[in-house]
C-alpha cells in the first residue's frame, strides 16, 4: 500500500498518522505538501488532524481550497482511497467530497478524551478488519466535531449506507447522550457514495500501540492494508 499524508500549514497529527501507517506497512508514508499540484502514484491519500490555517474562519475552509485538493479530487475520481481524520474530515466536507458539515461541539468546549465507536458496516476498504457492530475505543481531540446535515441528506446517507461509525457507550448503545459533541444521529464518520472516501472525527491513529494504551484503532489500518495491496 503506497500512502501519502498531506501536510497543510497548521497540520499537527501527521506524525501520529505516519506511525500508524508505518506500523501496518513497515514503510514510512510519503509527506505531501499543500501546494503540490500533482501527486505521485498512491493507493491512499490521508488528510490528517490539526489546525490547518489555524482553523480560522471555519475549520478546514481554507485548506479545502489548497492547490493539492484538486489533485486529491482527481485521485478520488479515479478510485483512489482518501482518509480524512478530524481536521481532514472537516476539509473533506468543506471541499464537498463528503456530505454535511462540522460545527462547534454542542458543549462549546474542546474535547480530549477516549470515547467508543460502533462500526456500522464492515464491507468497506476501511472497515473490513472489523465485524459490523464491533465496538472500539478511540481518542477524541476536537473543538468542532458536531456533525450536521439537513434532514434529507441525513436520510439519504443512512439509506445509502454512508454512515461509517457512530458514537456509542461501552456496550454499544447509541443515544443522544452517547454523542459527545451533539452530532446528528451520533454520526462520527461518513463515507462518500463510492465508499472510497472516509472522514471521521476521532483518532484511531493514536491508539495503535500497547505502549500508548491500546490497539483499538489498528483495524482501520489493517483493513486498508488488506484492501489496498499493490
Amino acid at each position: 500500500m503506497r500512502a501519502g499524508i498531506v501536510v497543510f500549514p497548521g497540520t499537527n497529527r501527521e506524525r501520529d498518522m505516519a506511525i500508524a501507517l508505518h506500523r501496518v506497512t513497515g514503510i514510512r508514508p510519503m509527506m505531501l505538501w499543500h501546494r503540490d499540484t500533482k501527486l505521485p502514484k498512491l493507493d491512499l491519500v490521508v488528510l490528517p488532524g490539526g489546525f490547518s490555517h489555524g482553523d480560522y474562519l471555519r475549520c478546514g475552509a481554507m485548506a479545502a481550497h489548497s492547490p493539492v485538493m484538486s489533485a486529491v479530487r482527481a485521485h478520488a475520481a479515479t478510485g483512489g482511497a482518501v482518509l480524512g481524520v478530524c481536521n481532514g474530515f472537516q476539509i473533506l466536507t468543506e471541499a464537498q467530497l463528503l456530505p454535511g458539515a462540522l460545527l462547534r461541539n454542542a458543549g462549546l468546549r474542546f474535547l480530549s478524551q477516549d470515547w467508543h465507536l460502533r462500526v456500522e458496516r464492515a464491507d468497506t476498504i476501511f472497515t473490513s478488519a472489523w465485524r459490523q457492530g464491533d465496538i472500539f475505543r478511540v481518542p477524541l481531540a476536537h473543538g468542532d466535531g458536531n456533525y450536521i446535515a439537513d434532514a434529507d441528506t441525513l436520510d439519504r446517507i443512512e439509506d445509502e449506507g454512508q454512515v461509517a461509525f457512530r458514537y456509542c457507550d461501552a456496550e454499544g448503545r447509541v443515544s443522544p447522550e452517547t454523542s459527545p459533541n451533539g452530532s446528528a444521529r451520533s454520526i462520527a464518520g461518513v463515507f462518500d457514495r463510492s465508499r472510497r472516501i472516509l472522514g471521521l472525527m476521532p483518532h484511531p491513529e493514536d491508539l495503535v500501540d500497547p505502549l500508548m494504551g491500546g490497539t483499538d484503532g489498528l483495524p482501520l489500518f489493517k483493513s486498508l492494508l488488506e484492501s489496498l495491496v499493490s
Partner: protein, 585 residues
C-alpha cells in the same frame, strides 16, 4: 508620549528608582532619549534583571555530569542518553492572566514554547501549574474558565500535547492567579542553538509576526503590584496566534537543520530590546538595528514603541551572510515575515536607527554590569498559628467524602479533558494516569519504535511553604522527585517558577530566601540540579482599604526524569489481585 521630557519623574513612571535613574545618567553621560530610557527600564526591571532574586538564585545547585546548559540560556539542557538532550523551562504569565485570562494564559504557553524551540528542540510536552482564588468567588470562575481555555486553545493548535500540571485554590490568589507554563523539548546534543551573537557584519534577521503596539511595558507591568489602576493598564494586552507559532516552530527547526544560524533568540518580554541586548551582550559584540525594516502591523509606530512592543510569535536570528537566501526561502515556504533589520558591529553598543535618526545608542557592558542588584532586607519569619490537635466532629467517612470533594483534591478531568494530550503520538501516560506524565522520545524525530521516555511533573504545596518556607521549598522538590520515581523514572533535573509577593517587604523576602534555601538543600541531597527557571514577584492584590495581600508563597517545581524503557512505566490504576504495600516512615 514623544512630547514628554525625560527626567527622574518619567523614569519613576517607567519603574526606575531615583538611584537607578542616576546610574542611567552616569552611564550615558547625558540625558537619555525616550527610547533609551525605555530600554533601561525594561532591562533593569525585576522581570529581566532579577535584581531582587539574583543573589539568592546563585545559591542553588546547577550542575551535574548530565547537565549540558544550566541557568543562563533560554532553557535548561540535560543529556538523556543516545545523543539526545531534553530542553525545558517553566515561565509565569500571572499578571497578564488576571487582566485577560484567555490571552494571558495562551501567550504564556506561546512564550515558553519559544524559549525551548529557540534552542533547537522540538517541543514534545507542555505542563502547567495553576493557582486560582477561592472557588466561591465569582471572579474565580471566569478566570479559571479563561485560563483553561487559553492554555488549551494555544497548546492544542500548535500541536504540543499538554500532559500534566497542577491546580490549587486559595483566597490569596483572588486578585492574582498564578499561571506557570512549562515546555519540554528534544534536540540532538550536537545541535543545540545558543543566543550569543558573533561575526562582525553578520546580518540580524527578524522572523515571525509583524510588530504592533502590543503589551508595551509588559515587562515592567509584570514587576508591579496590582491595584485599582489594573483596569487602566488593559490596552497593553497581547493576543497570541498559535497558528503562526506552529509555522515558526517548523520553519525554525527546518532552518536549524542547515548551517545558516549563528545565534537565535526569541523575542519574549520587551521583545526587540531584550533579545537584541542579550544576544549582543552575551557575544561581547555590538548590534545596530534599523527599525525602518521591521515588519510593522500598524502605521506610524515610533522607535520607542517598536523597541518595547511585546507582539508575540517573533524571533531574532543572526545568520551567516552567505546563507541569507537559504533562510529566506524557508520562511517564504512557511509564509512568515523575514527581514534583515540590522547587523552585528564591533562597537559594543546597541545602536537603534529609525527614519535616519539615531534613537538610541547605549554601551552594552555597563547596561548589563551596572544593572541594579539588591540584597533586600530579610524580616522575621511570619509563621501561622499551629493548627492544634485535630478533632473529629463528623466521622471518618464524612471527612473522607469532604476531602475527596474539596476543590484542591477533586478530579481535574474537567480541565485536562480540554487539553489535547495525545497529539504527536508520543504520550504513554496521560494526565490522571500516573504520578508523572510519560512521553517517548526518539533519536530522530521520525523514529517510531523508540522506548526511551521522559517523565514530567510539576509540584508545590503553597500551604506548606507558608507554614515554613524552608521545609516547604524542600518538600516541593522532594515531591517532584518522588513523582518521577513513582512512574519508574530516574530523576535528572528541575526547572522552577518562584512566585512570591512584594520583595521590598522584608517578611516576603524572608519567605523567598528560606524557600530557596530549602530547595537547595533538597536538590543537593537528591542530586537533582536546577537547570532553568523563572521568578515572579509582586504577586499581591491591593485591598479596598489600601492594604495589600500577598499570595501564598509558591515555588513551583517542574521535574524531569528519564526511563530507559517506557514499557516499564508504572501508572496509578490498580489491577485486581495485586498487593498494596506502604513504604517510608
Amino acid at each position: 508620549m514623544t512630547a514628554r521630557t525625560v527626567d527622574a519623574a518619567l523614569a519613576r513612571e517607567f519603574g526606575l528608582s531615583n538611584e537607578e535613574y542616576e546610574r542611567v545618567l552616569a552611564i550615558m553621560g547625558r540625558t537619555p532619549s525616550l527610547t533609551e530610557l525605555g530600554i533601561f527600564s525594561v532591562m533593569w526591571s525585576e522581570h529581566c534583571s532579577y535584581k531582587s532574586s539574583r543573589v539568592w538564585l546563585k545559591t542553588l545547585p546547577t550542575t551535574a555530569p548530565w547537565v549540558i546548559h544550566g541557568p543562563g540560556e533560554n532553557a535548561g539542557v540535560v543529556d538523556i542518553g543516545r545523543g539526545l538532550a531534553a530542553i525545558f523551562k517553566m515561565e509565569s504569565h500571572n499578571h497578564p492572566s488576571f487582566i485577560e485570562p484567555y490571552q494571558g494564559a495562551a501567550t504564556g504557553v506561546g512564550g515558553i514554547l519559544r524559549d525551548v524551540f529557540t534552542m533547537g528542540a522540538r517541543p514534545v510536552a507542555n505542563l502547567n501549574a495553576l493557582r486560582f482564588g477561592s472557588p466561591e468567588n465569582p471572579v474565580t470562575r471566569r478566570i479559571v474558565d479563561g485560563v483553561v481555555r487559553g492554555i488549551g486553545g494555544y497548546g492544542n493548535c500548535v500541536g504540543v500535547p499538554t500532559v500534566g500540571g497542577e491546580i490549587n485554590f486559595h483566597p490569596s490568589f483572588d486578585g492574582n492567579p498564578l499561571v506557570n507554563a512549562m515546555t519540554v523539548g528534544i534536540a540532538r546534543t550536537d545541535r543545540i542553538f545558543l543566543s550569543a551573537a558573533a561575526g562582525i557584519g553578520n546580518p540580524v534577521v527578524y522572523v515571525g509576526s509583524r510588530t504592533g503596539r502590543d503589551g508595551i511595558h509588559g515587562a515592567t507591568m509584570a514587576s508591579a503590584e496590582f491595584g485599582a489602576d489594573a483596569e487602566a493598564k488593559r490596552p497593553t494586552v497581547q493576543v497570541g496566534d498559535p497558528f503562526v507559532e506552529k509555522l515558526l516552530i517548523e520553519a525554525c527547526l527546518e532552518l536549524m537543520a542547515t548551517d545558516a544560524i549563528v545565534a537565535i533568540q526569541d523575542m519574549g518580554a520587551a521583545g526587540l530590546t531584550s533579545s537584541s541586548v542579550e544576544m549582543a551582550g552575551k557575544g561581547g559584540v555590538g548590534i545596530e538595528l534599523d527599525l525602518d525594516h521591521v515588519p510593522q502591523r500598524e502605521r506610524g509606530m515610533t522607535a520607542y514603541e517598536m523597541m518595547l512592543s511585546e507582539s508575540q510569535e517573533r524571533m531574532l536570528i543572526v545568520i551567516r551572510p552567505d546563507r541569507e537566501d537559504v533562510a529566506r526561502a524557508i520562511f517564504d515556504k512557511w509564509e512568515l515575515d523575514f527581514a534583515v533589520i540590522g547587523h552585528i558591529t564591533e562597537t559594543g553598543h546597541i545602536v537603534v536607527k529609525h527614519r535616519g535618526v539615531v534613537e538610541a545608542d547605549i554601551p552594552l557592558d555597563p547596561l548589563a554590569e551596572q544593572a541594579p542588584l539588591y540584597r533586600r532586607p530579610l524580616g522575621d519569619r511570619v509563621v501561622p498559628e499551629p493548627l492544634g490537635r485535630v478533632h473529629d466532629p463528623i466521622g471518618t467517612e464524612a471527612a473522607l467524602l469532604r476531602l475527596i470533594g474539596s476543590p484542591d483534591i477533586a478530579s481535574r478531568a474537567w480541565v485536562w479533558n480540554q487539553y489535547d494530550s495525545t497529539v504527536g503520538g508520543r504520550t504513554v501516560r496521560r494526565p490522571g494516569a500516573a504520578d508523572a506524565a510519560v512521553v517517548v522520545v526518539s533519536e530522530d524525530d521520525a523514529g517510531f519504535d523508540s522506548t526511551l521516555a521522559l517523565a514530567l511533573t510539576t509540584d508545590c504545596t503553597p500551604r506548606y511553604v507558608q507554614a515554613c518556607a524552608r521545609t516547604g521549598g524542600a518538600q516541593a522538590v522532594a515531591e517532584a522527585y518522588r513523582n518521577l520515581c513513582a512512574v519508574g523514572a530516574t530523576p535528572l533535573a528541575v526547572t522552577d517558577n518562584l512566585n512570591f509577593g512584594n520583595p521590598e517587604r522584608p517578611e516576603i523576602m524572608r519567605q523567598f530566601a528560606d524557600a530557596i534555601e530549602g530547595m537547595g538543600v533538597a536538590c543537593r541531597a537528591l542530586d537533582f540540579p536546577v537547570v532553568s527557571g523563572n521568578v515572579s514577584l509582586y504577586n499581591e492584590t491591593k485591598n479596598p482599604d489600601g492594604t495589600t495581600t500577598a499570595i501564598l508563597p509558591t515555588p513551583a517545581i517542574g521535574g524531569l526524569g528519564v526511563l530507559e524503557d517506557a514499557n516499564r512505566a508504572v501508572g496509578l490504576s490498580l489491577a485486581p489481585g495485586l498487593s498494596l504495600v506502604l513504604i517510608g516512615e
